[in-house]
Each structure stands twice: as structure tokens, then as C-alpha cells.
């Protein structure tokens, strides 16, 4: 521990005695403790901290690779530090963010959701009204379609797992099924789309096929059991399971039912996929089957030789994960990974594999297959046909090289 960062107990740098003991900064101090109190550590020799309204995290994990566009601080992304997490739920405070003009501070009591356009009855819902509807709750992932774009650079970037892949998170999302609200408004014949727009500064909008809204979309009010975080759409957001995150419009304030997509700037100029032949694909909503090894990964250096647990995440916008394979020799041979108990529809699935590291260099990879039989592509296949700078929907296999010192780095293999 860096003693220069300890809090002062008095002027001129005097440090608190017990801070020194807790930090274990001197063998003499540690010996004194041991002789006076046997093997009982400091935190067992006095009552602990009192109850408090909230529970601070034990470690200082934070979102990573926070980037903003020049001159527009609120427009950018922050990423989930995947390499420091386990399980399938992303703590809400670490859920990735992608905003187009910052996080609005919305007075929930004044917020309204309006369903209008090609409906029999244009309707307004406030938060109190929505809470009286049957709320459904599901564990599902949300992924920005710009995730993992770093894998497209010609040379492998010196980045860690969260920085490359951290635009993926999973939560328990609770909210009102949209089919109920749409039926209440009454869809007119010929309507095929709804244009969702948010209450942020740019009134961000995306067009969504009505079919998806009827299939499994919700107006989300809860994330991991608590009201949505402001950064994730408080007081309400659209949530479209398995689809690119941008379409799950945050701070949802309107759904205009239409017979055509709006062709908004987001869905034409930005979230479209340009191919080398000059054609661009619109409305490529579902996120492809994908997996990543989160541990070991860059920054998590292996220690002594021996048994290590490879752990990672797999997901697919098409449904459940069927299997994950791992390789320690750059894809020459593969072994089946163990999936954790919860293998859920359009959710992160945790996989694990035991690995004996003998100290030789290795290249670790994972490859997921989803319930439809779709197999995660390798990097070459994932890049083929893309125009330069066409960076959405990257789901290529990630390779981490482990060197003889146990350090991991991003490689192309």
C-alpha cells in the first residue's frame, strides 16, 4: 500500500496508528499486534462499522475506457470492467454507458410516456400509472453494437478485456410489457413501426418494428431490483431483449406508431453497416453469438505454475447459449467449457474451464454456439465484406496470448 495516500491524522503528515496497523505497513507493528492479541486480527477486536443507508462497494472498481467526442463531454461511452467481475449480473453502478448528449436529470413525477401516431387513442402514462400494470422481470444482456470494435484495428490494440469488450452488461430488467400498452392505445391497420424517442437533450430516436414491441419489449422501470439508474434511463426506458443497445431508447418519452421507419440520423448515418461493395444494411438489430474469456485476460497476470480457472461470458441475441468451447493453443484444439447453472434467453452465460498452466506461452480463446446453432465467427470471417470503418456488430473470437511470465495480451490468432 502506498503510504502517501493514507489519510492524515494530524498536521504535517502524522498518520493514524490504527491505519498503519490495518495496512500492515511494518513488520514491527505486525509483531506487536500478534503478541498482544494472539492471532485475532484488528477487525475482530472491536465492533465493526454501524448500519448505514447504503452499502459501499468493498473494492474501488470503476467503469473503464471512458471516452468522449471532442468538445462534447456527454457524448461518448464508458465500459464495464469485465475482467474484475464474476457471475452474470453486472452491478448497476458498473453497467456500461453510451450517451449522445449526457445524462438528463428528469423529475420523475413530471415525466410522461405518450403513445401516439397511428393509434385509435393517443395515450399518456405517468410513472404511477405504469406501476399499477403487471411488471415482468427478466435477466437479460444489453450490448452496444459498437462493442469490440477494437478488434478491427490492423494491429492488436494494447487494451484489456473491459476496454475492448466492456459495452456489454447484464441486469434483471423489470417493466411493463409493451404489448399491453400498445393494445390499450389500439394499433390502426397498416401500422408496422414505432418511433421511440427519449427525453435527453438530443431527443434521441430510433424506429422499432411493432412486431418486436409485441414480442418481448418492455418499458423498463427497474434494474437489478431498484429503480433504473439515471445513466440507464430513469425513470423509464425502452428495453429490447437481444437487440443492439442503441434501439433500447433511454428516458423514453414517446412512441409514435407509424407505417414507416423515421430513417433517423441514428439508424441511417450511424447504426448501419457499410459493406465493401458500397451497400449499407439498415436495421441490423439482433446481436450475434459471442463469447469472451474475462479471466485470465490482460492485467490479470498469472502467478506460479499450476491450475487456473478460465472464466468468461457468452451470449446471443438469438436466444440461449448451447455450448462454449475453449482453446489454449490458439484454436488448434478445443475443450468444452462448463456453463453455470443459469443459461437464460438473451442473457449473459458464465462459462468456466480448468487449466493447468505449466509456464509455456499459450493462446486462450473461446467460441460460443447458440440455441439456433449459430457459431461465433473467427476474426477473419467477421471482418470479411466490411467496409473500412464499418465497426458495428463485431462478434469475432478473442484471443489472449499468455507469455512465459503469465502476462496476457490481446493478439490476433
Amino acid at each position: 500500500m502506498d503510504s502517501s495516500r493514507l489519510p492524515d491524522a494530524a498536521d504535517n503528515g502524522l498518520l493514524d496508528r490504527r491505519t498503519l496497523l490495518r495496512a500492515g505497513l511494518g513488520s514491527a507493528a505486525a509483531l506487536l499486534t500478534a503478541s498482544a492479541h494472539g492471532t485475532r486480527p484488528d477487525h475482530m477486536r472491536q465492533p465493526g462499522a454501524p448500519m448505514s443507508g447504503t452499502s459501499p462497494p468493498a473494492t474501488e472498481l470503476a467503469r473503464t475506457a471512458i471516452q468522449s467526442q471532442p468538445g462534447t463531454l456527454g457524448s461518448g461511452a464508458s465500459r464495464t470492467p469485465l475482467q474484475h467481475l464474476d457471475g452474470l449480473i453486472t452491478p448497476s453502478r458498473l453497467h456500461f454507458e453510451r450517451h449522445h448528449a449526457g445524462i438528463p436529470t428528469i423529475a420523475a413525477h413530471a415525466h410522461r410516456l405518450v403513445i401516439h401516431g397511428r393509434v385509435k387513442r393517443p395515450l399518456v402514462f405517468d410513472l404511477d400509472a405504469l406501476h399499477r400494470y403487471p411488471i415482468v422481470s427478466r435477466l437479460q444482456f444489453l450490448e452496444c453494437s459498437g462493442n469490440s470494435a477494437a478488434l478491427l484495428t490492423p494491429q492488436p490494440a494494447d487494451m484489456d478485456c473491459g476496454a475492448i469488450h466492456g459495452l456489454i452488461s447484464a441486469s434483471e430488467w423489470g417493466g411493463v410489457p409493451l404489448n399491453i400498452l400498445l393494445d390499450e392505445a389500439g394499433i390502426e391497420p397498416g401500422a408496422t413501426w414505432a418511433v421511440a424517442s427519449g427525453a435527453d437533450a438530443p431527443a434521441m430516436n430510433r424506429s422499432v418494428p411493432l412486431e418486436k414491441l409485441y414480442e418481448d419489449a418492455i418499458v423498463a422501470l427497474y434494474q437489478n431490483g431498484e429503480p433504473l439508474r439515471r445513466a440507464n434511463g430513469y425513470p423509464m426506458r425502452l428495453f429490447l431483449p437481444g437487440w443492439e443497445g442503441n434501439a433500447s431508447v433511454k428516458w423514453l418519452r414517446a412512441l409514435q406508431v407509424t407505417d414507416q421507419p423515421a430513417m433517423s440520423r441514428q439508424e441511417t448515418s450511424k447504426y448501419s453497416d457499410l459493406d465493401v461493395d458500397g451497400n449499407a444494411r439498415l436495421f441490423t438489430f439482433p446481436m450475434g453469438v459471442k463469447s469472451i474469456i474475462t479471466s485470465p485476460s490482460p492485467g490479470l497476470t498469472l502467478g506460479e505454475h499450476g491450475i487456473y480457472q478460465i472464466s468468461g461470458l457468452a451470449w446471443s441475441g438469438a436466444g440461449r447459449i448451447r455450448r462454449v468451447e475453449v482453446s489454449a493453443d490458439g484454436g488448434k484444439t478445443w475443450a468444452e467449457a462448463q456453463l453455470d447453472d443459469h443459461v437464460l434467453d438473451k442473457c449473459l452465460t458464465r462459462f468456466r474451464a480448468a487449466w493447468r498452466w505449466r509456464g509455456a506461452p499459450a493462446v486462450l480463446m473461446s467460441r460460443a454456439t447458440d440455441a439456433t446453432g449459430a457459431v461465433q465467427p473467427d476474426r477473419a470471417a467477421n471482418i470479411e465484406g466490411r467496409a473500412t470503418g464499418s465497426f458495428y456488430h463485431v462478434n469475432a473470437i478473442q484471443a489472449w496470448a499468455i507469455d512465459s511470465h503469465g502476462a496476457a495480451r490481446n493478439v490476433y490468432a
Partner: protein, 182 residues
């Protein structure tokens, strides 16, 4: 009473309460939406569709747009929509099949209505909603002009904007097209 009996009793009660379809519907959809007022709807008329639905009254000229652009846009988007610190808005024509495609309003965007929609809803970045509809028409006209789509003496309004064919209009493929299946 065992837990199983309690659960069974609860289920039977549910069946009793929900025996009639009317009750089930009431529980699933309590119909709490209030009829949207004219004010509610007026405040939401930002969406401009590619067929021109949603375009408000007003008009603006290329030359008015040039002055507005210099005041509100040039610091981020560069002179004539190029070489700024943020998105290029002009140029890039005929680059989409090259090794370095440059996607701008003129080289890439399929619909001119999108320009109006986006400026009106989101720009200028620090002060969205501050421009009048005339201003937005003028800026749209200017951006079309610097992309060689409108003459420098042109005036733009709802009727003329929705008729504009963007150069890259036909190079988009819909991965999902729900209208086509009806």
C-alpha cells in the same frame, strides 16, 4: 397448513377471481392511460418521416443557412462541413467503395428529411431546440448546397425538402422490413 396447501389455496383463489375473461383483462391491462391532449402531442412533433410527415411550416434559404452555420456549427463541423473536430457533413462523394470511405450527409445519408429532423431535435449540441423552424430549413438547405445537391440561390420548405433525392438513396438494404410482409 402446509406451504403446499397454501399455494394450492392461493391458486384456487386466483382461478376464482379470474374466472371471467373480463377480470383477467382488467388485471393484465388496467387501462390507466389518459387521453393525450393537444399539448402532449404538440410537444412531441419532432419526428420527421422520410415521406415528409412531421415537417413543420417554414422556409429558409442557402444564404441564410450559411450565416447560421458560421454562428452555430462551424466550430465543431469545420468550414463548409469538412475538417472539423466532429462529424464531417460534406464531401466524401464516390468514396464508399474505396479503401477509405468518407460517410457524410452528401455521400451517405439516404434521406434529406433526416437532416431537418436531426438539426431540429439535437443541434446545436450545447443548445438544442434553440433554432426556429426557418433556421433549420435554412441550415438544411445550406448543408445540401455544400454537398452539391441544392443551388446556392435555393429556398427550402416542407414541399421541396421531401422531394429531394439524396445521391446514395438506393444503396441501402433493409435487414428487417415489416411493411413488405403485409
Amino acid at each position: 397448513m402446509s406451504m403446499r396447501s397454501l399455494i394450492l389455496l392461493a391458486c384456487l383463489s386466483c382461478v376464482g377471481v379470474l374466472a371471467e375473461e373480463q377480470d383477467i383483462a382488467t388485471v393484465l391491462a388496467p387501462s390507466l392511460g389518459e387521453t393525450a391532449s393537444a399539448d402532449d402531442l404538440t410537444s412531441l412533433t419532432l419526428n420527421v418521416l422520410p415521406d415528409g410527415q412531421g415537417l413543420p411550416a417554414g422556409s429558409g434559404t442557402v444564404s441564410e443557412g450559411r450565416a447560421l452555420y458560421a454562428a452555430h456549427c462551424v466550430s465543431c463541423h469545420g468550414v463548409d462541413g469538412q475538417n472539423g473536430i466532429n462529424d464531417a457533413l460534406a464531401g466524401g462523394h464516390d468514396t464508399l467503395t474505396s479503401n477509405r470511405p468518407v460517410r457524410t450527409v452528401g455521400s451517405y445519408w439516404p434521406y434529406a428529411t433526416t437532416i431537418f429532423d436531426y438539426i431540429n431535435r439535437a443541434m446545436p449540441y450545447r443548445d438544442p431546440g434553440s433554432l426556429s423552424h426557418d433556421d433549420v430549413y435554412a441550415l438544411t438547405a445550406y448543408l445540401l448546397h455544400v454537398n452539391d445537391i441544392l443551388d446556392e440561390r435555393a429556398t427550402l420548405d416542407a414541399a421541396s425538402l421531401k422531394r429531394i433525392e439524396m445521391p446514395n438513396r438506393n444503396n441501402f438494404i433493409w435487414a428487417i422490413n415489416p411493411g413488405a410482409t403485409q
